[in-house]
Symmetry: C2
Subunit: 342 residues, 2 copies
Amino acid sequence: MAENSSNSSRRPTIYDLAQIAGSSPSAVSAILNGTWKKRRISAATAERVTRIATEQGYAVNLQASLLRRERSHIIGMIVPKYDNRYFGAIAERFETMARARGLFPVITCTQRDPDLEFEAAREMISYQAEALVVTGATDPDRIADFCAAAGVRVINLDLPGRRAPSVVSDNFGGARDLTRLILSRLSQDFGAPSPLWFIGGRPQDHNTLERLRGFHAAHDEAGLTVPPTQVIMPGYSPDKAATALIGRDFPARFGIFVNSTITMEGVVRWLSETLDMDRVRLGCFDWDPFAALLPQNVGMVEQDVSSMLQQVFDAIAEGRDQPTRINVPCILRPLPARVGQP
Amino acid sequence: MAENSSNSSRRPTIYDLAQIAGSSPSAVSAILNGTWKKRRISAATAERVTRIATEQGYAVNLQASLLRRERSHIIGMIVPKYDNRYFGAIAERFETMARARGLFPVITCTQRDPDLEFEAAREMISYQAEALVVTGATDPDRIADFCAAAGVRVINLDLPGRRAPSVVSDNFGGARDLTRLILSRLSQDFGAPSPLWFIGGRPQDHNTLERLRGFHAAHDEAGLTVPPTQVIMPGYSPDKAATALIGRDFPARFGIFVNSTITMEGVVRWLSETLDMDRVRLGCFDWDPFAALLPQNVGMVEQDVSSMLQQVFDAIAEGRDQPTRINVPCILRPLPARVGQP
DNA sequence: CTGAAAGCGCTTACAG
DNA sequence: CTGAAAGCGCTTACAG
């Protein structure tokens, strides 16, 4: 199949097909884009043109097609990274849901770099994207302003902004539930619970602050107060987390709330090189199937990617553009005990 | 900034800008795409037009621009999934390297579905991609044929094809090195080594067969023969791996070669629910930072994503189109002992 | 130093 | 049932 007519290295156009089929470019266009029924073109012609298109390895030129059409049906997404299950799941699910709605998904990854974020957004507007989903952006409002000027709809996902609708996890509730779980497993395994450590994230970061609020709320319920020295926010990277732990004095038995799987990597590596892992119990905000197998891990919070994206697509379909905030509940995943009580 | 002239909801064009600036569309076009120096347009005009473009929130229409230009500079990639570090790293690195070369990367994920793979390839050709990187495809030759007919360059990555240049890991060498490592750690921890289990992948899969060859080669060196019942290839998914282990009889001490991180998930989950994990040592083909923290894991093979992509971009730049095969060495990552000898 | 004009490959009213 | 024609927003030789 796909025999290119050998006379030219150029891709065939509807004019080429029309000439071969003895028909007109208009007819070929209509046949190939499915509007031929309402034009009442003969089935025989349609069949012949379709066959020739296949033989010639024809693929429509979307640049030309989209330039002429009213709508592009392109929907863009920017994500910071592909290096964890959360953003990976978001990207995959976004593509699937977009295709299911007859849209063309275009995703690009912006390395948590504000300038790259902005350039990527501009590029998607240049591609005539009709809507843009801005995920985990460091400066979502700058992008929202630019999109507003270009008449392109924006939705913030994961991190909220002030200029467009935002869909975010219920970070407070998820963190509170996880903190409760770690505290209860601590008392189960070690006796009387003591205040947990909180590691990861940044004090300027919306999600970190919400999670910290939930962390404190669960401690309050349990009549516990967390010493400020036990809240450590050195960013998300494994190395920064490990460095921040150097020289800390941990008690005989203790528990840690880890704020992101990325941070978890550094925390577990450092601890396992430094002390007896039977002394510690951990819980982590965000889900990773391998992290779930670490023996000291008592539970993880999974963000509900499907529900979040459902909200995103609903907001786009309904044409919402007010800076509303939608909170999507998280899923607490307790893990079986994999390590003996001392 | 980005004040849209309120008279219209349409995006501004170079005609709008020309009118506002009191210049011509040609001049505006040249100024905005950087060719104005060689047209010797006055710096004053250039400055004025640039300012107006910013004020109006102008972004070039790439559909129109690309339709007119000779080249698109678009480079496409299809990947099967975003759900593991290997493909995540490939996607991220591909975007970075493409941008560094002045290309526009477009990636889409095809869920290991041959039809989706083909449709995605066709879509990228419709977007005028100049080259297509086909990663981990189930039917790369079908895509290669179609691309050849359309005059689009293709490179296979990860899984080789017969119709286009392929860049793949040295699966044989990586598997042999990993097998050696597991065997040596077995004898270190448990005394005399016994033949390993091999779990994961499919017998029809090129990479699996190469890894199996390396697995056997390392056993041969050690004077060991693997019983056929110890080679289990139920696909890659965690659940299939777990199911395939049901009812197996494992000796008091044993070692496993796990063929992919995805499989590792199922293997470790099942084993840890079933037996004392001190009895087992594992190694895994492919790298994952959390899997590296599992106490029984003695080492992982990391595929050298940067080198592989360097080869891909070289092949594209040089215009290679013969079905050559490039093997890129893997990186063996031994892991520190995290579990006591019995 | 600058503009008018052609044309990239399509789609779609419009006129038969 | 079908085709000629206009035009989407650009770029780029070409002619001043």
